[in-house]
Symmetry: C2
Subunit: 260 residues, 2 copies
């Protein structure tokens, strides 16, 4: 399994991915799921992937090395696409071409063709955008209403994003959110594992702001984990119990859960 989350906020991007791949519980490895195509000042495209590793690696190779007819400028690749929309489209095209090649053999082994991608970044003069590409090769874009996208094991880490992530969340706060969301997932699903790849990008910078691999003993991540757990415990202790009087006027029958 995998967990990748991307926040596309007003100020920029925060991307976070775990690095565990597994074939059963007795065969786990570390693979980076965050890939960056960067030409400072001209383009910064990041791509995160979830699903069958052979499929996602084949897709990444095709979109970085190029697919399609070799024209004057060489084959289409993430190094040459003119916009983020075309980047998402190219990833979708690569997924479809890998499916054409691999799906029949995978199906003979009863393995589902499974791959999804988050494609985020900016090309000079164009908009900063974040897309999710499905295994069918189609795609959706994050918007100000829902400024984040997730792939892989998304459920455990979603409640905190649903409650807190906003389009005007600063990048620093979005980093905290991504790490909390990742921590909740790490705790509940063994097939999502450390280390974590974390990256930030500021709108119009056209280069990666920060990219970092976070291991178990990373002091910032450890602090976030510990303080967040403690803050949750404190927050729930501070909530009035079901027998406490409520501030608000009670409708008849309301207010207390226990007793008369």
């Amino acid at each position: 399994m995998t967990y990748c989350v991307a926040l596309r906020v007003e100020e920029g991007l925060v991307l976070c991915a775990d690095t565990r791949t597994n074939a059963g519980v007795d065969n786990i490895s570390v693979f980076s799921k965050l890939h960056v195509i960067e030409k400072p000042g001209e383009r910064m495209i990041a791509i995160m992937c979830a699903g069958n590793l052979a499929v996602t690696q084949a897709v990444i190779t095709r979109v970085t090395e190029g697919i399609g007819e070799t024209g004057e400028e060489g084959p289409d690749s993430l190094h040459t696409v003119p916009s983020m929309f075309e980047a998402a489209r190219l990833v979708g095209k690569a997924v479809r071409s890998v499916r054409e090649e691999d799906a029949p053999s995978l199906s003979q082994e009863n393995v589902a063709f499974d791959a999804s991608f988050l494609v985020a970044g900016q090309i000079a003069g164009r908009r900063l955008r974040l897309f999710q590409v499905y295994s069918a090769g189609n795609y959706i874009e994050a918007t100000a209403d829902t400024p984040y996208l997730q792939i892989g094991e998304h459920k455990y880490g979603k409640p905190i994003l649903d409650r807190v992530a906003k389009y005007d969340t600063p990048v620093e706060d979005a980093v905290k959110l991504a790490l909390i969301s990742m921590d909740s997932t790490l705790r509940s699903n063994l097939s999502v594992g450390m280390p974590i790849d974390l990256m930030t990008y500021r709108k119009d910078a056209l280069h990666v702001e920060m990219r970092r691999r976070i291991s178990e003993d990373d002091p910032y991540f450890r602090m976030i984990r510990e303080r967040w757990s403690e803050a949750l415990r404190q927050a729930y202790r501070d909530l009035p119990g079901p027998n406490a009087p409520l501030d608000a006027p009670k409708p008849s029958g309301g207010g207390r859960l226990f007793g008369p």
Copy 2:
């Protein structure tokens, strides 16, 4: 879909279930998923269910009306079983008998046989216990190490339980936890819906302590939802940003996530 959660803490039990059933997104109804068999002073057995409604209703009918040979004391039912272990076993037996009857026809319609149950309670002179019965009719028991069990859409509501639920959590606090866990699920999965059934039981009381249907406008639940959301937002705002100095001594390279 469904979400049911049960906490079996030192002081007693807290059970919480949503009431939504759906066949697709365009056919939703309200059905109670919490059933109580109570003979005050002698037994209190509560059962919550998730899965195919026809299957779970058939199981509930069998375990309340009785299955098996009619002996001197009538057929086995939750009104007569001598222990909670036998209660879980009886539910498992009922699941298997419904499967025998319904599974072939369900399979003709490509509908999976899907049903799971939480069976909790106490019989005079015996231990308070909480079991989960699977669709295969086998079962597991909650222990002091993991004092809660969930059925249905369990992922969204699990992180808060993983972080906070302990065997020595008081019943009042376990009520808060169950409601927070339910709220996280309600927000993220449309097929889990209000109203909520909530119940508490104190060890050795042999009668229900509190049973309540909580609707959208319940002032206590609304207060929990609002304050919890606000507390989470505050807690994450209070976390130091990735550029803040850390209290702990930093290993080389550690401490700050962003430059220099």
